[in-house]
């Protein structure tokens, strides 16, 4: 097969034949990148700019878009519904991220030392990560039903605890949805922590033990500091995940999306409704720019923290 290629290349004359080896490689490089660059321009760069532009227009898809400057942002920041959504979105993050990080670290820390059935136990924790959020949202929704349908309330009744309203309560619905998101991503975080733990050289532990450090001291002075890059990555990854939560909320509250009384509505659901239920494209675009700004700030914070380590 190589012979054919040789003949083909040698047989070629003209402009291509006169190019030097390195010039040919430059041509190859741009040939490889041509379709991708077109793709990234049309499907990533241009839509990004368009989203910024749309956020300064008033557009219902039927009439031509009208430039309105920063009116959409003024309207958004003056809208109490937006601030409710804003609080909800950060409530997912502020409640969810610490729980997820502490739980996954604790599990990974102990799992790392388990030799009996290590792979099996790891698989049990990891399996939920492979599920479809939209599908599992319905399983959890069923779990949260009032008695006698709901599994959790049936368990509570069995333990003598009064039934809880869960998804029907303005106080409990958001944490109830958040739990399903933690559940789904815990396995991923455990695996990443396990990788981080394995990357710490054994000699560090041996040296610490020679110095007479106990398990607790080794954990706080060696393991946790050395895991900082892993932890920062997971905190950022988890935070971004919570800020973008949608599938679970949409499916667990589909009779009144974001309810009850908007108490579970995150920013992405608001964007979805503004754009594809009310067709206020400009207003929705402004909301996406706000989401982008929040996510961008968090990503920059990650880079900054990791740089100053």
């Amino acid at each position: 097969m190589t012979d054919a290629t040789v003949n083909e290349t040698e047989g070629r004359t003209g402009l291509w034949g006169r190019l030097s080896m390195s010039a040919k490689r430059v041509v190859w490089a741009w040939a490889f990148l041509a379709v991708p660059l077109l793709f990234f321009t049309v499907v990533r760069f241009y839509p990004t700019l368009e989203a910024f532009y749309l956020s300064t227009t008033d557009w219902d898809l039927l009439n031509p878009a009208k430039y309105v400057g920063l009116d959409n942002y003024r309207r958004l920041f003056a809208d109490p519904a937006f601030w409710q959504v804003f609080r909800n979105t950060f409530a997912y993050l502020i409640l969810g991220t610490p729980i997820a990080i502490v739980l996954s670290f604790a599990i990974a820390y102990y799992l790392d030392r388990v030799t009996v059935l290590h792979g099996f136990i790891r698989a049990l924790y990891f399996l939920p990560y492979l599920t479809t959020a939209a599908a599992m949202a319905w399983v959890w929704r069923w779990f949260y039903q009032p008695p006698p349908i709901g599994v959790i309330n049936s368990l509570l009744a069995w333990a003598g605890i009064p039934a809880q309203p869960f998804l029907r309560s303005v106080d409990q619905a958001l944490p109830a949805i958040m739990v399903t998101s933690i559940w789904a991503h815990l396995g991923f975080q455990i695996i990443i922590f396990l990788a981080g733990l394995r990357a710490i050289p054994v000699s560090y532990y041996e040296a610490a033990r020679v110095d007479g450090l106990g398990e607790g001291a080794i954990l706080t002075r060696i393991t946790i500091p050395l895991l900082k890059p892993t932890t920062v990555f997971l905190v950022v990854f988890s935070s971004i995940g919570f800020l973008r939560i949608f599938d679970q909320v949409y499916n667990m509250t589909s009779n009144d999306p974001g309810g009850p009384l908007n108490s579970t509505k995150p920013l992405v659901l608001m964007i979805y409704q503004t754009a594809f239920s009310s067709y206020q494209m400009g207003y929705a675009a402004a909301q996406t720019v706000v989401l982008f700004t929040i996510l961008f700030t968090i990503s920059m914070a990650q880079l900054w923290i990791l740089r100053s380590r």
Partner: protein, 282 residues
């Protein structure tokens, strides 16, 4: 191989503590899969038995599967999801690794600029792009088409970033030897470089497939024709229709979950290693 195959001496000496830790970990793991167990168990119960919460059904039956699959729509949604996830995965594996290889192994003016430009798109959340994508799809008639569902994901900055780090570890001598043998640059990538990065490539493939199999937001927006729904979107609308027929909803959920669980059973080592690769490098 594993440096901690023998546990730390101190820990080993506290036997009861170790057994307690193992038991808690194990029970926690069981709790983690409980929703999955209940989902499968309920999908095997008849409508009359749904409120009977025992995990092993008293009279297991396939009737829900017959009913749900007999609907016809589910089979179609399943097919749609398989098609979309497969095509997007093949596209990403091909293009992401081609871009990554070019950026890692070619020296040409503008290389760094192209890499940074592609990398910068990681900062742009999907949610910001869906409105422009929707407008683009409606302008070109891509709403309610497979291409409409697929086009935004055909190449990803994540894949480029991941693969580039692996191509950088491929020795230039290998490529140079192939060049002297007369292989053209495309053949060198395809026949020499790609086989050297298969672990990373399979990690990318698994992630892309999983991501597209479970994708909900964009397919929900771009499709209104039921026959073009992907499985998650179809299941969501199906569940709303059924409202309280939980055994049918659980059957639908089980159908959406089984393929990825099967993939896991067959490729467990690959997947766990892939997550580590992608998480640590990406």
């Amino acid at each position: 191989m594993d440096p901690r195959a023998t546990p730390p001496a101190r820990f080993a000496s506290v036997r009861p503590g170790r057994i307690a830790a193992w038991t808690v970990l194990f029970l926690g793991g069981v709790v983690m899969v409980t929703p999955l167990l209940f989902m499968f168990s309920t999908s095997l119960k008849s409508a009359g038995q749904v409120y009977d919460l025992r995990l092993v059904p008293l009279h297991p039956t396939w009737e829900n599967y017959v009913k749900v699959l007999g609907d016809g729509r589910f089979a179609r949604w399943f097919f749609n999801s398989v098609l979309v996830a497969t095509v997007v995965t093949l596209s990403c594996v091909f293009f992401d690794s081609l871009i990554a290889y070019t950026l890692a192994k070619f020296r040409f003016p503008g290389r760094q600029a192209v890499f940074l430009a592609i990398l910068s798109t990681l900062m742009i959340p999907t949610e910001m792009l869906v409105i422009p994508w929707y407008l683009m799809a409606s302008k070109f008639g891509w709403l309610d088409t497979y291409w409409g569902i697929m086009f935004p994901g055909m190449m990803t900055a994540f894949g480029v970033f991941l693969m580039k780090q692996f191509f950088e570890t491929v020795p230039d001598d290998f490529l140079e030897a192939a060049r002297i043998d007369g292989l053209n640059e495309f053949a060198i990538w395809w026949k020499v470089a790609l086989p050297l990065v298969t672990p990373a490539l399979s990690a990318l493939a698994i992630f892309t497939f999983l991501g597209n199999w479970t994708a909900f937001f964009w397919p929900l927006i771009v499709t209104t024709d039921q026959t073009l729904y992907t499985l998650p979107v179809g299941l969501s609308s199906f569940a709303v229709e059924q409202s309280i027929q939980w055994e049918l909803i659980m059957t639908g959920a089980a159908l959406a979950t089984v393929p990825t669980l099967l993939i896991f059973l067959f490729f467990q080592r690959y997947i766990v290693r892939g997550v580590m690769l992608a998480g640590v490098k990406g």
